[in-house]
């Protein structure tokens, strides 16, 4: 006894290992099984010719079996076995929850959506493959891309139907599924962002089509009022752009009357020889009634200068004053 009571640490460690090996039991059951264990171990060790206590797992297993508790599903080598048993346990738990809360109908509904998941998973697989090849499009832009997508979807659906699935693939498949589920929100937001961006681009082109003529901040400029250095309103100002092209606000060169509000109609200046001058500002207006069915100013129309935003503006600072400063 003396040699081994001198080493109570080994006993304590062994007893702890035994308790650990029983850890799947309740604390009460473990107490029940191991109460007095140290005393027994010390005494056994002191009498034993070989002061070796053996494998605590083996010991725990023997203890548990003799006590009538079910063997641990996995004595020690059992990490794999436990993993293998895991899906079954989850399924059983899930089944219990479904039954307790009467979720059968919802489960059926979502089970019917499984093919959607398969396709989604296939698409995710395509993204992975396409990403490896360097194609970063939500949907393929090339024929090869479509082939990859189709192949990925077929593989995913076949896996979903339990085909083409070798045993060893199951764990990778589960891991892959988890990965796709975790990545799904990110993928979704990425796709939404990408779609919005292209939609925004498309809507910019389609909904606010290119406006001919002159715009300011996207709004049609409908007239121009020029004031001279003294702030007085000018009439009959001819404007040209940097290329010498007459500056036409509407790009509507021709004799027509242009309306932006269907009430007042702008008409070109007729005093320029050879053409209807849309570049002489401010453009004159005529009333709606003076527009012919063809959209031309009636012959008896009476063009007038529209009301200017300012009758006059502040004069510029005196030139010589500027120079002297």
């Amino acid at each position: 006894m003396n040699t081994l009571t001198a080493e109570p640490e080994a006993i304590t460690r062994f007893a702890a290992a035994v308790r650990a090996a029983l850890s799947d039991l309740s604390a009460e059951e473990i107490d029940e099984l191991t109460d007095g264990l140290e005393a027994d171990l010390i005494e056994a060790a002191s009498e034993s010719a070989t002061p070796e206590m053996g494998d605590p797992n083996h010991y725990a297993n023997e203890l548990r079996q003799a006590a009538g508790y079910p063997a641990r599903a996995t004595p020690t080598r059992g990490v794999r076995a436990r993993i293998r048993a895991f899906p079954g346990e989850i399924r059983a738990e899930w089944q219990a929850i479904v039954e307790r809360f009467g979720l059968g109908r919802f489960v059926d509904f979502f089970a019917a959506l499984r093919p959607v998941w398969w396709v989604f998973r296939g698409w995710a697989l395509y993204l992975l493959v396409a990403g490896l090849v360097g194609l970063w499009n939500a949907l393929p832009a090339t024929f090869v891309g479509w082939i990859i997508l189709a192949g990925a979807v077929v593989v995913s659906v076949q896996f979903g139907r339990g085909r083409w699935l070798a045993r060893w693939m199951r764990v990778p498949l589960v891991l892959g599924n988890i990965l796709v589920i975790v990545a799904a929100p990110f993928l979704a937001s990425w796709v939404v962002t990408a779609t919005n961006m292209s939609a925004a681009r498309a809507s910019y082109v389609e909904e606010s089509p290119w406006i001919p003529g002159v715009t300011m901040n996207g709004q049609q400029v409908t007239n121009i009022f020029a004031y001279d250095e003294n702030g007085a309103l000018l009439e009959n100002v001819q404007l040209f752009d940097q290329d010498g092209t007459p500056l036409d606000l509407f790009g509507s060169d021709g004799p027509g009357a242009y309306s932006f509000d269907n009430l007042t109609y702008l008409v070109p200046n007729t005093d320029v020889p050879g053409r209807a001058a849309w570049n002489v500002y401010p453009l004159s207006v005529i009333d709606e009634g003076d527009v012919t069915k063809e959209g031309l100013p009636a012959s008896d129309a009476n063009p007038r200068v529209p009301k200017a935003p300012f009758t006059s503006v502040r004069p510029l600072a005196a030139r010589d004053a500027v120079v002297s400063e």
Partner: protein
Amino acid sequence: MDTTQLLKGVLDVAVLAAVQHEDGYGYDIVRRLRGAGLGDVGEASVYGTLRRLYGAGALTSYVVPSDGGPHRKYYGINEEGRKMLDEQRVSWTAFANTMTGLLATGTTEKPAAVKTIGARA
């Protein structure tokens, strides 16, 4: 023959018998069984059996503190345990007699006997 396999079936009655006259703690009972000739009996098996018999109400249990060491858990037989022991003693005796008789008849007839038991005719 692997006696540990045989032991499994009779460990209950063996443990009950070991405590029928005197209470004992775990290793104490192991020692009694080994002293009686069951040299292969595993300590953990005996402890487990003690716990199970206690759980089944066949044994009483109490803890005895020891000086400067871990406490000992003693087990003693009760009425339920004695009843169980008596019953198992009877069935063991019958079983042992049968086995003794079967083995004494000699090896040549053994296969025939097995065949008769198994045959449905």
